[in-house]
Each structure stands twice: as C-alpha cells, then as structure tokens.
C-alpha cells in the first residue's frame, strides 16, 4: 500500500504539469520514459543471447 506522501507527490507533479508548458515538463519525464524502454530492450537483447534466453523472453511475454 502506497502511503500519503506518494499521493501528495502525484498531486504536486500534476499541478506542475498543469501550470507549465509541455516543453518544460517533457524535459523531466521524457528521459525517464526513454530510459525505461532503452534499458528494457538492452536487457532483453542480452538475455536473448544466453542459453534458454529466448524461451524465457517468450514466457515473460506470455507467448507459450
């Protein structure tokens, strides 16, 4: 269960987004969004080259 400070942060950040143009808030969240995708793809690429890695990826993606 997330506590009160988590909820307060959601509200604080939403207020920031509401009161600033996209060109400002995208500087904060854009790199975070990109980093998650880049890191995950790099990891999956590395995992796919290990023994049994492709099968593990298929299970992670619920394809089997």
């Amino acid at each position: 269960m997330r506590d009160r400070t988590h909820s307060e942060q959601v509200i604080r950040w939403a207020e920031f987004v509401k009161t600033h143009p996209r060109s400002i808030w995208i500087r904060e969240v854009g790199p975070l969004i990109d980093a998650q995708i880049i890191m995950a793809n790099t990891f999956y690429e590395r995992l796919s080259k290990t023994e049994g890695g492709v099968e593990k990826i298929r299970k992670l993606r619920k394809l089997d």
Binding site: I11, W13, A14, E15, V17, V29, L32, I33, I37
Partner: protein, 187 residues
C-alpha cells in the same frame, strides 16, 4: 553539463508512426495508460493501448501488410488471417512491436461493444499532449480507471488527469460512462 532534450519520447514517436498506418484503414483511439503519460504523468509503461473500429478481415489484412512495410511486426503471428480469426475476432488483443525490438508494444483490439463504439464516436485530439493522435475522451479514461481498472497506478492516473482538466471536466458524463461500464462490463 547540457543534456539533449527531445520534444518527442520514444513512446510518442512509436505511437505516431503506428497511427500513420492505421488511420488509413480504420478509425482508432488511444486509451488508458498512454493517455495519462502523454499528459505528463511520470511513470513507465511497456505498451500503448489502441482500439480500432470493427473492420472486416480483408481490410485488416491490408492494414497488417502496411504495418509490416512500415517496419512493425505482430508478436502473436506473422499470418494476418490467424491474427484476425484466432485473436481479434475472438475479442483478444494482439501486440505489435518495431521489427527487432522488444518494447514498446502496441496492444491492438477491435471495438467489442457499444461502449467501445461510443469511445470511438466521441474520440478527441488533445492539444495539451502536443501529439496529433485521437484519444478516447478524458472523461472516458477517468471513468474506466476509477470504475473498472482500479489499481493504484490507474487511480493515480485518474487523479493526475482530474487535476490537469479540473476546469473543464464533465462530471455528469463521467457518471453516465460509469453506469455504462457497470452495465456492460461488470454485470
């Protein structure tokens, strides 16, 4: 140290490139988590959710082939007939990625009931996102997250959207949509 900051995230470009193909074949909407993220919600996601109008198999095959030409591939099958008959027609979503990549995924499904038809009919472009995409309405997204999905992440998404659109939200519309959700998805 200066860091380069792009106006478009990887998710933005992925969604726009996918939509550039889909919109030639069907009416579509982007729904759920990416709606909140496109409004600045600071969280990650592996997929973008898209609903398209119910199209016939022949039309889907053309769309699928255009998606392949644009560099996308379907994780479930390379055969559009299988994708349509075994998944989409069965109200099951399928996932497309850029060829050779693992994420992000576009989770694609056909409209399945009058609620989805209504979402597509009331779709909107949302200038605050800076993206030239059709989304389901903010009221629709809030209603789904608060009435059906209800995870902590979804409730935080709804809270975020409520603050961003606090001055223009139609609460009566949210109430009407929640009633439809209870009738069509929860009974």
């Amino acid at each position: 140290m200066d860091r380069e900051v792009k106006e478009r995230t990887i998710l933005d470009t992925f969604a726009e490139d996918f939509v550039n193909v889909v919109e030639k074949h069907a009416k579509y909407i982007i729904v759920s988590g990416f709606v909140a993220i496109a409004h600045g919600r600071s969280r990650g996601t592996e997929d973008v959710d898209m609903i398209i109008e119910r199209i016939k198999k022949e039309a889907f095959i053309k769309m699928h082939n255009d998606l392949l030409l644009a560099g996308f591939e379907c994780i479930q099958s390379e055969y559009p007939e299988v994708i349509y008959d075994d998944y989409l027609k069965d109200k099951t979503s399928v996932r497309y990625v850029r060829k050779g990549h693992f994420i992000p995924e576009m989770e694609l499904k056909l409209a399945k009931d009058e609620l989805d038809d209504y979402q597509i009919k009331t779709r909107k472009k949302l200038p605050l996102t800076g993206l030239d995409l059709y989304f389901s309405s903010i009221e629709m997204n809030i209603a789904f997250k608060e009435e059906l999905l209800k995870s902590e992440k979804d409730m935080d998404d709804a809270k975020h959207l409520r603050i961003i659109y606090s001055d223009v939200l139609d609460e009566n519309e949210i109430t009407r949509i929640k009633a439809k959700i209870r009738r069509l998805r929860l009974s």
